[in-house]
C-alpha cells in the first residue's frame, strides 16, 4: 500500500469494519420498504458490493477516500431499491399501457391514515408509484431529492407524485370502505 495507508485505513477494509454495524440498518431499510426477504437480501448484497466498487474506484483514482458511514450506505441502498422498481416497471410496462390511468380527484384529502392499511395499499401499487411515494413519504425526502434519485426533472416528479397519490387514494378509499378492490390489488 502507499504510505498514506499509515495515516488512513484502506477504504475497502474500512468498509468491512463498518459491515457489522451497518448491515442491520441497510437490511432493515430495504426489508421495510420492499417487504420481501429474498429481495431484501439480494438488494442488501448489491448495496454492499456497489459500495466496494465505489471505494475501490476511489482508491484507484488516488483521490480522497469517501466519507464512509451508514447514512452513505443507506443512500446507496435507496438507489438499489429505485433500480429494482425501475426494472419491475419495465417488466410491467405492457400491462400498464393496457390498464391506463384513471383521472385524478382534485379535492383536498385530509383523512387520518390507518398506517397499517396504508402500507398494504402501497405494496400493491405499480412500481413507479411505489417508488415515488416511498422516497417522498417513508424516507421523507424533499421533492428535488426524490427527482434526483429517480433521474427525473422536479416538474415530472411532481406530476408523478400527484398521480401516485391519486392511485394510492383510490385504493385506500376502496379498502377502507370495505369494498373488494379492483385490478392489480387482487394479485396479492
Amino acid at each position: 500500500m502507499s504510505e498514506r495507508s499509515g495515516v488512513q485505513p484502506d477504504p475497502g477494509f474500512a468498509l468491512l469494519g463498518l459491515y457489522d454495524a451497518a448491515l442491520p440498518q441497510v437490511y432493515g431499510y430495504l426489508l421495510s420498504r420492499c417487504g420481501q426477504r429474498a429481495l431484501a437480501e439480494d438488494l442488501t448484497a448489491d448495496t454492499f458490493l456497489a459500495a466496494v466498487a465505489v471505494v475501490t474506484a476511489w482508491r484507484r483514482s488516488q483521490s480522497m477516500p469517501p466519507e464512509l458511514s451508514t447514512a452513505w450506505l443507506i443512500g446507496v441502498a435507496r438507489h438499489k431499491l429505485v433500480d429494482h422498481w425501475r426494472r419491475a416497471a419495465r417488466e410491467e410496462r405492457g400491462l400498464r399501457l393496457v390498464a391506463g390511468e384513471a383521472s385524478e380527484p382534485d379535492d383536498p384529502w385530509d383523512d387520518r391514515l390507518d398506517v397499517l392499511m396504508a402500507r398494504d395499499v402501497l405494496a400493491v401499487l405499480g412500481p413507479h408509484h411505489r417508488a415515488v411515494l416511498t422516497l417522498r413519504y417513508l424516507d421523507g425526502l424533499p421533492v428535488a431529492q426524490v427527482a434526483d434519485c429517480l433521474g427525473r426533472t422536479t416538474h415530472a416528479t411532481e406530476a408523478l407524485l400527484t398521480r401516485a397519490k391519486a392511485a394510492f387514494r383510490r385504493s385506500y378509499t376502496q379498502r377502507s370502505a370495505g369494498r373488494p378492490s379492483t385490478g392489480r390489488e387482487g394479485r396479492r
Binding site: 475497502g12 468491512l16 448491515l23 442491520p24 432493515g28 439480494d42 475501490t56 394510492f168
Partner: protein, 270 residues
C-alpha cells in the same frame, strides 16, 4: 397544509438478517475488497459455463471415439462411469450410462443461494447447496426437465479456444419461450433472434450459446473447435461415426456429426 401521507414516515429500523446470509455476504465482500472483481447479485449477468459433461450410453466406446477424433486424453472421474477430459477449457468431463445423450452444463454464479431462490421462483427444482472442493454447488432441473447445476465461483472460459475445446453450445428445446423466461430470470440472460426460425442467441453466455425449437425433450449439443474440418470429418467417419459434409456459415465451417453411439455434436473451424 398537512398531507395525510406524511403519516407514512418510516425511520430506518434495525433488522438482523439471517446469520448465514450475513456471513456469506461478508465473505463475498472480503473477496471483493481483496480482488476488486466481485459481481452484483441482480445487476450483473451470470451463468457462464465453467464445466460441461458429455452424457452418453457407453463410456468405454466414447473414450476410444473421442480420443481418435479430438485427441482427448482422460483421467478417472469421481464416479465409476465418469471421466475427466484433460487440459481443456472450460473444464469438461464425460459420463456413461445415460440413454438420452446430451451435454450437462454447470453454470458459475456469484451467489448459489440467491440463484437457488431464483430457480425455485422460476418453476425449477434445485437441491440444497453442498460444499465440494471446487465450491458450493446445487444440482438443478429447469422447468422443461433439463438437468444442470449452479456453483459459486468463476468460470475459466478462454477468449480463444484451442482444438478439441468446447467453442459453442446449441440447446434444443420444445419451447424456446419457456427457456428464455427461465434462464432470463435465473441468470439475467437476454436473447437475440437468430438466423433460423425460433432460434435465439444468448447475449451473455460463455462459451457462446444458442437455443432453438427442436424435438420433444431438451437436448444440448456441444461444438468442438478443430483446425482442419475436412480432416476431422474423415476421423469421425473412420471411427464409426457420421458427419454431414462441412458447410460454410457466416462465422466459419461447420459439420453436424454423430459419434458411433448416435450422440450428436458439431465440429467448427473458424
Amino acid at each position: 397544509m398537512t398531507d395525510p401521507l406524511d403519516a407514512l414516515r418510516e425511520p430506518v429500523v434495525l433488522i438482523t438478517p439471517d446469520p448465514r446470509f450475513a456471513a456469506a455476504l461478508r465473505a463475498r465482500l472480503e473477496r471483493a475488497v481483496i480482488r476488486g472483481d466481485e459481481m452484483s447479485a441482480t445487476q450483473t449477468t451470470a451463468g457462464h459455463v465453467g464445466y460441461a459433461s458429455v452424457w452418453l450410453p457407453d463410456i468405454e466406446r466414447a473414450e476410444t471415439f473421442y480420443r481418435a477424433v479430438l485427441g482427448w486424453s482422460f483421467a478417472p472421474g469421481s464416479i465409476e462411469h465418469g471421466r475427466q477430459i484433460e487440459d481443456v477449457r472450460p473444464r469438461m468431463g464425460m459420463a456413461g450410462g445415460v440413454e438420452h445423450s446430451s451435454l450437462f452444463l454447470a453454470h458459475a454464479v456469484p451467489d448459489v443461494r440467491a440463484a437457488v431462490r431464483r430457480i425455485h421462483a422460476a418453476g425449477g427444482q434445485a437441491d440444497e447447496p453442498v460444499q465440494q472442493p471446487y465450491g458450493l454447488i446445487s444440482d438443478c432441473v429447469d422447468d422443461q426437465g433439463l438437468r444442470f447445476s449452479v456453483y459459486e465461483g468463476a468460470a475459466d472460459v478462454p477468449a480463444q479456444s484451442r482444438p478439441g475445446e468446447l467453442v459453442y453450445i446449441t440447446v434444443e428445446v420444445p419451447d424456446t419461450a419457456r427457456f428464455r423466461a427461465f434462464y432470463g430470470a435465473v441468470f439475467g440472460w437476454t436473447f437475440t433472434p437468430g438466423r433460423i426460425n425460433d432460434g435465439w442467441g444468448v447475449n451473455e453466455a460463455r462459451p457462446m450459446m444458442g437455443v432453438h425449437r427442436a424435438g420433444d425433450r431438451p437436448t444440448i449439443l456441444p461444438m468442438y473447435q478443430v483446425t482442419d474440418i475436412q480432416d476431422a470429418v474423415g476421423r469421425v467417419r473412420r471411427a464409426g461415426g457420421t458427419a454431414v459434409d462441412p458447410a460454410q456459415r457466416p462465422y466459419g465451417l461447420e459439420s453436424l456429426c454423430s459419434d458411433d453411439q448416435g450422440s450428436r455434436f458439431y465440429l467448427g473451424q473458424f
